[in-house]
Subunit: 205 residues, 4 copies
Amino acid sequence: MRWRRQLFDKCSVEPATITACSGARGHQVRYVVGVMGPSKARRKDLENARALGELIARREWVLLTGGRAVGVMHAASQGAKKVPRSLTVGVLPTTKDKISKYVDVAIITEMGNARNNVCVLSSQVIVACGLGGSGTVSEVALALKAGKHVVLLGATPVEEKFFKNLGGRFISSVETPEDAINAILKRFDEGEVADLRALEPWHGY
Amino acid sequence: MRWRRQLFDKCSVEPATITACSGARGHQVRYVVGVMGPSKARRKDLENARALGELIARREWVLLTGGRAVGVMHAASQGAKKVPRSLTVGVLPTTKDKISKYVDVAIITEMGNARNNVCVLSSQVIVACGLGGSGTVSEVALALKAGKHVVLLGATPVEEKFFKNLGGRFISSVETPEDAINAILKRFDEGEVADLRALEPWHGY
Amino acid sequence: MRWRRQLFDKCSVEPATITACSGARGHQVRYVVGVMGPSKARRKDLENARALGELIARREWVLLTGGRAVGVMHAASQGAKKVPRSLTVGVLPTTKDKISKYVDVAIITEMGNARNNVCVLSSQVIVACGLGGSGTVSEVALALKAGKHVVLLGATPVEEKFFKNLGGRFISSVETPEDAINAILKRFDEGEVADLRALEPWHGY
Amino acid sequence: MRWRRQLFDKCSVEPATITACSGARGHQVRYVVGVMGPSKARRKDLENARALGELIARREWVLLTGGRAVGVMHAASQGAKKVPRSLTVGVLPTTKDKISKYVDVAIITEMGNARNNVCVLSSQVIVACGLGGSGTVSEVALALKAGKHVVLLGATPVEEKFFKNLGGRFISSVETPEDAINAILKRFDEGEVADLRALEPWHGY
């Protein structure tokens, strides 16, 4: 099954909300957007992350981050928690990390940086909010490896060129949080957003 | 910080609800109960899992399972989704598993059976609902390794003896879903429920 | 392809050595025996581990352990390194563990206790040398989950009964390191030793 | 402890061999070089990988690859196995991959692409032989995250610029397998080669 806007419209309460529906009982799996970025982030990346987190939550999408109380992950979760009934998931590398207080559900992986793969596989789409950190670069690469679309927010020309060479049409590059949301919505219209599970259709939704 | 009933009472809306509060802004991290059990389960284990899932959700705790559309994980999630505004998290082994339609947020680990360690680390307490499967046994053992309390629901005498030898006071053994909940609540009274992070106090809550 | 004694005999230099051969070029994949056991081990378990490591190395099998400089893993590697040209592999949980000085090749997983799954999947057969630790119990359970044979060395009656209930014919229980080796050899005669890869035949050997 | 040429010279049999020694008993931990690259590789990358594998084995270093029977990993292992008494380790993503017949010891992680982190952590230095694949890019990024030196072999100008921006002095860029070896040796002279364990000195060697 593809995620298409017209499909979701059938069961969505608000037109702005895109989720999947599961027929009779109306149970919905939540659409998850992963926001990745450096722990030592520039001011601009933090501002983008906060705005992006809030926009994601306003659409009733789940925000997924690396969950630590630093940098882009912390700022994005903070933005999302401005919105009532938002849901933030943090996927943490170790049992000893300080968890962001804006994370509702903490997934403790004890996998170190290999948790980056869990972050991208558990998100339907990824937004990379600043590419200055090697962790974020690994996440973009792992997302492409898994067939996920990646939206680069605020990439430099070299970064954009490098990743477009690597990922082709799976890469979008934008300048603002609003455009990142638009890039995600555009994927719905194209029926192109990757499923959580890469190789089979979802059942039961 | 320890999870104590009196602490949560300060900020809980309903007395029956046990969550943690974070002072000024009132943001709450969600308390997560992991329910583990065989994919090929006996009828009794499935009934227990459904009842247990519902009881967990009624207390506004998050239910965490292995997320697949089979056995105890499916039944527990189904029970929880009878409760409005419940939250079910499934931590899945591969990108190709059929996800239970009663899972709200799917964490795709692509770690195979090593995802069992993520399940137990991301839960504050574990209930093992039937020990007939080697996956479940590995989860109980990994939970003990991580310093988590484990409630055995419907264990045989040999299973109970084996795990009490291994885990001592970290093991409770009960016969009914209601008693599993009581065993969890007793931990709160004792201030003993293990934090998500084993070795340091939580910050910021 | 099954690992059978008669097969290996075709290309083995010494009759006592069991390895696989790959036809024309004579390249051999190494047969790997995993020895698991507590980090805080009893004297008897340490003695067994040392003797077992040496016996494994004498057969030119690779010894695989958890790699840390403590307990059964350290003792087994020490025993193996008494034998010239032995090969010891240690699969370590974190980047900060002290590595046993008897480990030739260190695989650093940064997966915490989830590395236990790597240990069992990378071994053709497992010997559990003392079951007093929850890590070891998780390894036996994960090995059974993966369809590997497990030899329990020095198990108590409760431990033996529990694991025979769980694993059936995949469990052998023995009292001495020599009998552990015999239990492994018996598997060859039965053509039953699990391949590294559970679901497909090996190619190219 | 730093890996310095003068240190190794004390116990090395051949001047060309760089390994670490552990004093009295003369036991040596093996120095591991990871060679990463695409599974669908260009002819030039395959030729480089074969030559590089052979050069690594001639120095008695252990070759570590992704272990599958395709692309750069297969070619590098093939090159190494031309050398008598060479040792090749393959770190495989799943239990179902076809293992390269040039791999001596197969580490089966069942972690999917997260095994890339195990590859880089288990190597003292990484050579990326072609950067056309997103898996390889993730490995270079994870290696930098872990503080490992990375030698880029045959990178395009954009790739070189991107990774030098990201990794600074931890990145070398070369054109031939011989220069890749020289870049590794240069690290020894500088005492800069990262230890397997990033944060503490090695003990016991």
